[in-house]
Subunit: 271 residues, 2 copies
């Protein structure tokens, strides 16, 4: 998918919502558990119930890997279902991968070519030659961790050197990587004070923003400095939507929660 197509989708749906498909067998409605592939069934129903309100889905790969080969089968079925039925939707493999050059290429092929995700999250610690193999793929996006939403995010990411914090250095340095147009960045919604500084370094790149809802981030505060002329934001909600109910009405309740966020986003886009 191109960035242009993503922006068109956002304009069309008046939404920059991303829904996190972090599926935990202990949390899904019990009536699904007797099915052959409860994770895929859950995803399918969530997707069917929310696709008109969201522009992106983001399975966190850990949740699938946790179930071994069965988990990978659920992941494959989910991404195929998305690509076949809703090809206009942007897909994010939240994998936080990163390794030395030739090895990163293997991860990139696995997620971009074989699974046909539009994007993948990547950790920046290993630097240029761990990131560029992902950036080499055309019309695919590499979402670099910049400032994460968790408490430990402050262990290193905001450490200061040469008057610059590490996450700022990650943003600036990565702009010099080859094909840096294919970059997006993860910035937690729990860090609203940082968005102004971040937009000075990356005024146009998309930011993937987790941490709204369960983790306590505010959509309004994120948008204050995060929104650009081309929107430039994908705001993720996982638990708040997919586990809005754990009864048979889970998909319906997911629609309601997604609709609430979409309506809020529509107002923010207008203003």
């Amino acid at each position: 998918m191109t960035k242009k197509q993503l922006i068109e989708q956002i304009r069309l749906k008046k939404s920059f919502l991303c829904i996190g498909l972090d599926v935990d067998l202990d949390k899904i409605p019990s009536h699904l558990k007797q099915l052959d592939d409860p994770i895929f069934e859950f995803n399918k129903q969530i997707i069917d119930a929310t696709h008109h309100l969201t522009v992106a889905y983001k399975p966190n790969i850990a949740f699938y890997e946790a179930y071994g080969i069965k988990g990978w089968q659920s992941l494959e079925k989910t991404i195929k279902y998305l690509n076949n039925n809703y090809p206009e939707i942007f897909t994010i493999a939240d994998a936080k991968r990163g390794d030395i050059g030739n090895t990163s290429t293997r991860y990139a092929k696995a997620f971009f070519d074989d699974l046909n995700f539009d994007s993948i999250t990547v950790a920046p610690y290993m630097g240029r030659d761990s990131v560029e193999p992902f950036l080499a793929f055309e019309d695919k996006f590499t979402i670099l961790l910049a400032l994460t939403s968790n408490a430990g995010g402050l262990d290193f990411q905001t450490s200061e050197y040469n008057n610059e914090q590490l996450y700022q250095s990650v943003l600036k340095t990565s702009l010099n990587y080859k094909n840096s147009d294919n970059l997006m960045y993860v910035v937690g919604a729990t860090r609203p004070d940082f968005f102004q500084k971040i937009r000075k370094i990356v005024p146009h790149h998309f930011l993937l923003v987790p941490g709204v809802g369960a983790q306590g981030g505010s959509l309004q505060e994120v948008c204050k400095y995060g929104l650009t002329d081309n929107i430039g934001l994908l705001v993720n909600s996982s638990r708040g939507i997919i586990y809005a109910s754990n009864s048979e009405d889970f998909a319906e309740k997911a629609t309601e929660k997604a609709l609430e966020l979409q309506k809020e986003m529509e107002l923010l886009i207008k203003s």
Copy 2:
């Protein structure tokens, strides 16, 4: 496995060699390719031919993930084969994972419980709550990326702040994490000048050292400051051993190459 058991193995075999099982279908001998699971067959023969010379095996997970579900099956069979036939050998999932708390726990369970690896490599960028879920597992080890062997490793890891380089901060900070005894660190063999500084911060922790051989690191230079009274090193070689030949004699040649390194290590342990 406990650290004591690992050290006993090293003393017994007079080797601190780790063999990287980074299996690329394009590089394995052609006679294996007609088999049902060429990757597992290749690993099995490499393991049978080298287990007496090495104390650890380290599959890089990217190489398996690259083949999707089939790749995961090969990985499962490989780790089961190791655990069933050579339970004394230390196993490392070179996965470079790391995510927010509850998600890291899922990765930890996948690799420690389900696959029964002894250890996993983890990226430090997300800080404490992304690492501690791995450290919570008893007799399992979390191998944190500190100073990696690739060129891009210098993009951020050696950036200086508060008179301290980032990798030093990672070492020092992580020592305060809960269960930090379960930590080991990745330090590239291509950075021999750093070992003295590193040993000042972590005098006793094991270092996993990739980059000897194909990447140009020197075993002698690594040992100069890296070796401790309890050895404290696992030095990895992948391509130099497993692809020593791509003919039918590949396992034999792997034995030869592993023996060369083991002999070199034996001398270094003595001196």
